[in-house]
């Protein structure tokens, strides 16, 4: 792969309304590429691994900025940066889980421009795919990672189907735990999708990591009041504490009454192509005391059914330990 300093020549539009942006996105379809913060975009273009003809820069759209209170929770504009999420009082006071997750993304400079929508809609970080190889996800007919010598220590434990890439989004796990909803605009109108259904695995669609299709624009993320001010736990383990993507991450929201867990949502990141809800753990801890004993009893449930590849067995004890910490409530 040759590496280039500059991007190839292409067009650029800077619409200032969602209507104009949707019009451009549907008109351009596969030839266009939506840009928010651009931090997942420019590497693709510099490497010539993706070749859109026209960029649509969404940052001029004022209605996609800001955090608003709604009748049932809050609505976060798609263009809100990850740094803004870590500082916004509505989020830090009620949904600290999301603020913690956003604060662990990449580096300060990337969080300063990277948007919430971009973080959830970013593409797979499998290095073979990123290199521009013609793998399943790129439309080809083989997987380079799932081979005897494939470098797959960062790849999936669960629900693989030809592709073994994992979900790279830190905020995605938090949003699934918080039962967030994604607001998507297209030329056929607006639709609202649960965060859990927003992410799709390779068994459903091997070319896309989310339900977003050409012509769709993710305009906002809604978080219901249900988990506001719940007890939260977030931890991300990566090879490096800055820049790097998660090896495994855990996001948990719990309602605890007199030390007893009444309800919970536990979601693991970077173990499959989508944020993985740990429903077996959730039901096992319902009605149990939130303590070390409960954590020790249930943690192994989290990795049941895991099918590790050659070099990612370490993710199983890692995941188990993170679930243990999330259930007991401290590192």
């Amino acid at each position: 792969m040759s590496s280039h300093d500059v991007m190839p020549e292409m067009g650029l539009y800077q619409p200032v309304s969602v209507e104009d942006a949707v019009g451009l996105a549907s008109q351009l379809a596969e030839r266009g590429w939506l840009v928010g913060g651009g931090q997942d975009t420019y590497g693709w273009l510099k490497d010539r691994a993706k070749r859109p003809e026209v960029l649509v820069d969404l940052k001029g759209i004022e209605s996609m900025r800001g955090v608003r209170e709604t009748a049932d929770g809050i609505e976060i504009g798609a263009l809100v940066t990850l740094t803004e999420i870590t500082r916004n009082p509505l989020i830090t006071e009620r949904y600290a889980l999301l603020a913690q997750a956003a604060g662990r993304v990449a580096s300060p400079q990337i969080r300063n421009v990277g948007t919430l929508a971009g973080n959830v809609a970013q593409d797979a970080r499998c290095w073979y795919y990123r290199r521009g190889l013609n793998c399943y996800r790129a439309g080809g007919n083989l997987c380079y990672a799932d081979t005897p010598e494939g470098m797959n220590r960062e790849h999936a434990l669960f629900n693989t189907s030809r592709c073994v890439a994992v979900s790279p989004s830190d905020t995605g796990t938090a949003l699934v735990a918080l039962e967030a909803q994604m607001v998507i605009s297209s030329s056929s109108g607006e639709r609202v999708v649960d965060a859990e259904d927003f992410f799709v695995g390779p068994n459903l669609d091997i070319r896309h990591m989310t339900v977003l299709r050409p012509g769709d624009i993710l305009t906002a993320v809604r978080i219901p009041a249900k988990w506001a001010n719940a007890e939260f736990y977030f931890e991300k383990v990566a090879d490096r504490n800055v820049w790097d993507f998660a090896l495994v991450s855990i996001a948990a929201a719990m309602r605890v009454n007199n030390g007893v867990i009444e309800d919970s949502r536990l979601v693991a990141g970077a173990v499959q192509c989508t944020p993985r809800r740990l429903t077996s753990v959730e039901s096992a801890i319902r009605g149990k005391a939130r303590n070390q004993e409960t954590a020790d009893q249930v943690a192994s449930l989290a990795v049941q059914g895991a099918q590790p590849l050659n070099f990612n067995h370490f993710k199983m004890p890692l995941m188990e330990n993170l679930v243990n910490r999330a259930v007991r409530g401290h590192a």
């Binding site: 420019y42 590497g43 990337i110 800055v242």
Partner: protein, 195 residues
């Protein structure tokens, strides 16, 4: 070697002549006809270091490219060109960003500050620059302008950071010499917490 012809001056001379050549060739691809709403104009006026600079910017051009190769501001270095090292860090409206991973058109309405714009009109160095010299922060110096800009951004929003806050704020800037503690000493000195 001719003392007047330093490496830096030679490179800047090449850049200046390149600008002249580029501006005469006028490689406009879009003629302005039949373009839908929102298509960008190439001729921009951008605010860099307090000055309005008129410059011809391609749609896909990064801010680092515009600064270095069109405006001759070579303080922002290109290390990785992928947003993974921090040597191209500049401020846009007082927020530190990677100029290699920002399109110039994205920040055309923001005030850009590069390391060249820190010095006062009378030549006095910015407190961060002075502190970095006093603490011998740079080793090879390649990452230094980026480290300075991240430190300046931190002190604008948090004038007396703790060492842990400074470490966090500078965590998006790699230093391959490993002079991280020297840079942190510099930040603590610049914020008046070391004497």
């Amino acid at each position: 070697m001719n003392p007047k012809l330093t490496r830096r001056r030679f490179i800047k001379g090449v850049i200046a002549s390149g600008v002249a050549a580029a501006s005469t060739s006028l490689w406009y691809s879009a003629s302005g006809q039949n373009r839908p709403a929102g298509a960008v104009e190439r001729l921009l006026t951008i605010n860099v270091n307090g000055q309005s600079r008129r410059v011809d910017v391609a749609p896909q051009e990064t801010l680092a490219h515009t600064l270095r190769y069109k405006l001759g501001l070579t303080g922002a270095k290109l290390g990785c060109n992928r947003g993974e090292c921090g040597s191209c860090t500049v401020l846009a409206d007082d927020v530190n960003i990677y100029s290699c991973s920002t399109l110039t058109h994205e920040v055309k309405n923001k005030a850009i500050l590069t390391v060249e714009g820190l010095r006062a009109a009378d030549g006095t160095l910015h407190p961060v620059q002075a502190a970095f010299i006093q603490e011998l922060s740079p080793a090879c110096g390649f990452c230094t302008s980026g480290q300075i800009m991240s430190a300046v951004a931190l002190l604008k929003s948090n004038p007396r950071p703790t060492r842990a806050e400074a470490r966090q704020a500078l965590s998006g800037n790699l230093c391959r010499c490993g002079a991280y503690d020297h840079y942190l000493n510099g930040v603590m000195r610049a914020s008046g917490q070391l004497s």
